[in-house]
Symmetry: C4
Subunit: 372 residues, 4 copies
């Protein structure tokens, strides 16, 4: 690591990853649906928000700790589920969970993990872990998975609800045609026969960017919440909600929380940036359940804005991948440390000493200043 | 076709066409009026609209079929009239109509066709065909054409109402001066003497980009609807309406439908994008007649937005040309298939299973999220 | 002229001029004040307006003629005053006035003319001519000029009111330091001693871009209108008004008309584009006097927009210079012909047959379509 | 100086500095926090404001003089505090104060000065001088400094309130790691041991861009105003206020004035441009105390806009550095002269003869013209 460049912000880690990961891996991790408008919007929408800092408050000590579903985290920046960490660093999700453990935050393990549930748990048994779940057409497969997850000490299920089918990633479509997972890697809980499926085997047209998604249950409805509750006592979080209408349905179906998410812009292009969708959802939910967000978080000011607009915590996905690509566990830890430090500094420079101090009045849309 | 690149979206076909068609043909098909602001707006306006997807609905089966003027189409994406398909592919409109037939959608044949009405009909007699009409100064010419069209089994007349004169296409102006149709090609229903007219023969200034338009009737008024009805029993659709005022006049004159169109930005620059003009027109028309649109449609999300804002179907012009240039009938078919697949996927990811599920609340302007 | 490129729009003439005029001349004619934001806005503001065309009206005959102060012009596009036409073409203002005469429009001769009032009048005695006036510190000089102008058959005085001092043109500042008028040229009515003044002679700082303006009367007030009326019976037009407040003062002081103008962005940077300033001024004036505009007009759609928003006519300055640089009188005539043809075509494609048909409802701001 | 380029505007001086200062010095003076959005906004926000000039007023004599806290200045453009002028020119703050004295304006000396308080005072004892103050953790250090400042004839204390911690300047973070002050230079009132601290000595993460700020008192509250008043009779000005709420608190704590400032975009990124934050603050303060602004002022139109929106005076920082880098005292003087001349010209072209004539109605947001 001696000769590696000194990196000071998440953008630096992204630039590093873009220079060092192979093209197929980059396409897998970084691309979005269609024209990638939503990928871009996830960042740009943050840039349209302005901070209103307050001065002359004692900010010499800041407490960034908070809780999610009653569990302590040292700071409200958690690790979003993303697949195949072994593509970014050979230790894969084991490096990631060690970084989460060291930083005392929560990691959400993806169903598309390249390390097993038990390996991850044993590597960092004290780390707060949640599990991201897809519901398969064959529900028994999902049921078995849920039981293993619960047994392994995971504390919540994060049900992804925005993937009845895979989004169309243009580069991904091409990329996957010749793309095979390295022979030593395995998506642990994806149907074995799908892993190296050639494009020509797919029944759908060439717009399908992932061979796995055909096994998902596209007929899933709100009924699945009842079914999940019948097989597990773990709290259920819905990830992929973008409208107040669905947020209210989530409340009615008594889930524990929701993640305002557009799947990093990878599913349906032209959906709003999550930081833009967040306020109306928070307003509708009225504190009845916890609301989180992911998508486009790259700086401490981003985190601060999300918290001010009502998120209980934010999740970062790609930044962790970029950290892994730089230096495995240590790189992932550095990324979390940078975001934490930047949030701490943003709080100090805004006059906030603890997370609960971060209120809506600290953030306004840029158009707020267009009136004279 | 083995060595051709794999194309996954309409933009890919456009890029292919721009690399493979000769310059004169590209100018003929792609340019727009004056500064081409409206050409650009037709695309950009779609990009300013956001989708509001709903989750946890059974979308495992989607039905994209609909009807236009009572005729079934497998999906609401039809082929707009555009001229001289033989310039893009040697089989010209015959390739196009075969693609439409295979895909079970509607083709609108242009008066500027390079294949005869009867050839097109005999090539795909079961395909739903409409005919695009200009009214000539010599009405007898138009009348004869209408009777041939009706006899050939076309199901509607699409009267173009935005070309009393040809728009000024700057590149076209220059291009046409030296431009001659290849000797083996012919615009079947354009006055013969006009086809290879030199620029110096034109009575108007050098701003005229087409030698044919001088033969159109610039004195045409709403009276022509009555006249058309007197010579044909075919339903009449007006193409080129951009204001609610004219849409209401169309309703009063009892046409069967209207196409919100700006002629692909080729007639009057600075008119609004069609997707922006559409909502107020739909609101005015109140379901009394069918409203279609064309202009700038390049993805399934575009189609979804147009349907959500009230279009009964959309028409695509240049994308078909791009498909033809890639692989004739097969290329045109691929373009339609891609748009169909993308619409299907957009519906699935938005929680819609059939065309009628696509309602206005699924689409908002980006400024919807600017208020905090 | 055989080998010259074929030019089809005013932008082509500008490009030609930028390639063929020497650098000092280009700086003199094209630059604007400070950061040239207003120069750019004069164009960009037109681009933010949309047209709302009407269809199926008999537009086979268009009458573009109108009157300004009771004098007939064949079309409402007149020649704005600009200095030193001899720098663009050796015949200077004589070429310009011949173009105006041929096209049957009005030319406003600048005080900074390089041809004499009498030469211009004798060259085209039947051409409608107005004279642009500065008021000098020494009023007797202005008075003599007014009497010569009146004797020479000019029909109105256009008093420039936005130059108490010269605007700061950054390139102009540098340019003028070494810039000398060619020895055979002369600004006929500028103080002789100023014409070739070196920069170091100027009393003000290096921000002064013109040596002539020091002779203008910076103490001028509305009183000067009464004085002008006392020495001439010519109607007085004020050029350089940008606010409804000053427009109303102009009405109160009984001038015959006003030109909404920002001096082509050459005086005060960051003033609004004229097409944006126009509507509120028209609304305030309520038809009590004629309102014209200049600034940024480059296409027929621009003219149409200005007329729709209430201008009685528009004036073009730099386009005439570009035409002169291309082919003298013939080039200036071509520019006017192009603008006239484009206006005619815009009217036809909008459903307007005469100038009075062009109403406010034909134009909306682009934000009109942002509401869903 | 003979061979130096002729510079006509502040941008020219910036370009000169960017070409001639070494990279470390440029990073020190020009960079901003995080993504430098606020640095850019400070300029861009000015560009979104339009002027509404009035005509035909006697502007032959302009009086730009005004007062700040009762002290005469020849024009309302003062020198903002910025550190280490010796990095830009060997005479450092002595050159700056001589320029201020010649131009009869106010200089605010920074605590990060490279020349002593007494040297600066003796160099230009008649020049109006204010002193910018940080409050150190060790208050006795600050107290001693205040007494020296008062004894040296400074007329006000400008307490910087937006630096409980240093902002994160990405380039600065890297730059400072190897950056050592030239051995012959010294930040006079920064803790000696900090001046050449290596990055690894810092307790905080690598996000800290300045080694000095760790000595500041991050626990500072409004109580410090009372303490300052107890040790000095100098009027107190708070610099770094961005909200009406804090402006009102400043009024309640009876300070003499406030500077609407975002520290040149160097502290917290994504705070509003100062020219955008200004109007609401002026509205809240209601003339109870003087309101100044800094940030992004580069032209006379910028100054005019700030005054129109209620600033009593503006302060310029980086422009002075650029002037110093060009020609020391003479360069700083030229920059002030240019801004003064440009303000004078803007007043003349707007119809204003004295500072008090510059009212809010002279400035509108560009969106003012978007309504038709």
């Amino acid at each position: 690591m001696m000769s590696k460049p000194m990196l000071v912000c998440v953008d630096d880690y992204e630039n590093y990853a873009r220079e060092h990961l192979d093209r197929q891996t980059l396409i897998y991790f970084t691309t979005g649906a269609d024209e990638e408008i939503t990928v871009k919007e996830n960042r740009d929408a943050f840039k349209r928000l302005r901070l209103r800092p307050r001065i002359l408050r004692d900010v010499s000590k800041r407490d960034l700790s908070t809780s999610i579903l009653g569990h302590h985290v040292d700071f409200p920046i958690c690790i979003a589920p993303s697949g195949a960490h072994c593509l970014a660093f050979h230790e894969g999700e084991l490096a990631t969970v060690k970084a989460a453990a060291t930083m005392k935050t929560c990691m959400v393990l993806s169903t598309a993990t390249t390390k097993s549930i038990e390996e991850v748990s044993q590597t960092a048994s004290h780390c707060l872990r949640w599990f991201q779940l897809y519901v398969w057409g064959a529900r028994k497969v999902s049921e078995d998975l849920v039981r293993r997850v619960e047994a392994a000490g995971f504390k919540a299920l994060v049900l992804t609800v925005d993937v009845p089918y895979a989004g169309k990633r243009r580069q991904g479509s091409l990329g996957f045609q010749g793309f095979k997972f390295p022979p030593h890697l395995e998506l642990k809980y994806m149907p074995r026969e799908a892993t190296n499926t050639q494009a020509e085997k797919l029944t759908d047209s060439k717009s399908t960017s992932s061979p796995f998604v055909q096994y998902f249950d596209a007929s899933l409805t709100w009924e699945c919440i009842e079914w999940l509750k019948s097989i597990t006592s773990l709290p259920i979080i819905l990830k992929g909600i973008l409208t107040p209408e669905d947020a209210l349905l989530a409340v009615q179906h008594k889930v524990a929380g929701i993640v305002v998410s557009n799947h990093g812009g990878r599913q349906l292009d032209y959906v709003p940036a999550t930081i833009e969708a967040l306020p109306k959802i928070v307003e509708a939910v009225k504190d009845q359940i916890e609301v989180y967000m992911d998508g486009g978080v790259r700086t401490g000011t981003d985190v601060f804005k999300a918290l001010a607009l009502g998120a209980k915590a934010v999740f970062v996905g790609r930044p962790i991948i970029y950290g892994l690509s730089y230096a495995g566990e240590e790189g992932a830890r550095q990324v979390l440390q940078i975001l934490r430090d930047e949030l701490s500094l943003t709080m100090a420079l805004s006059g906030c000493s603890k997370i609960n101090d971060i209120k809506p009045q600290y953030v306004v849309h840029q158009s707020h200043f267009a009136k004279l």
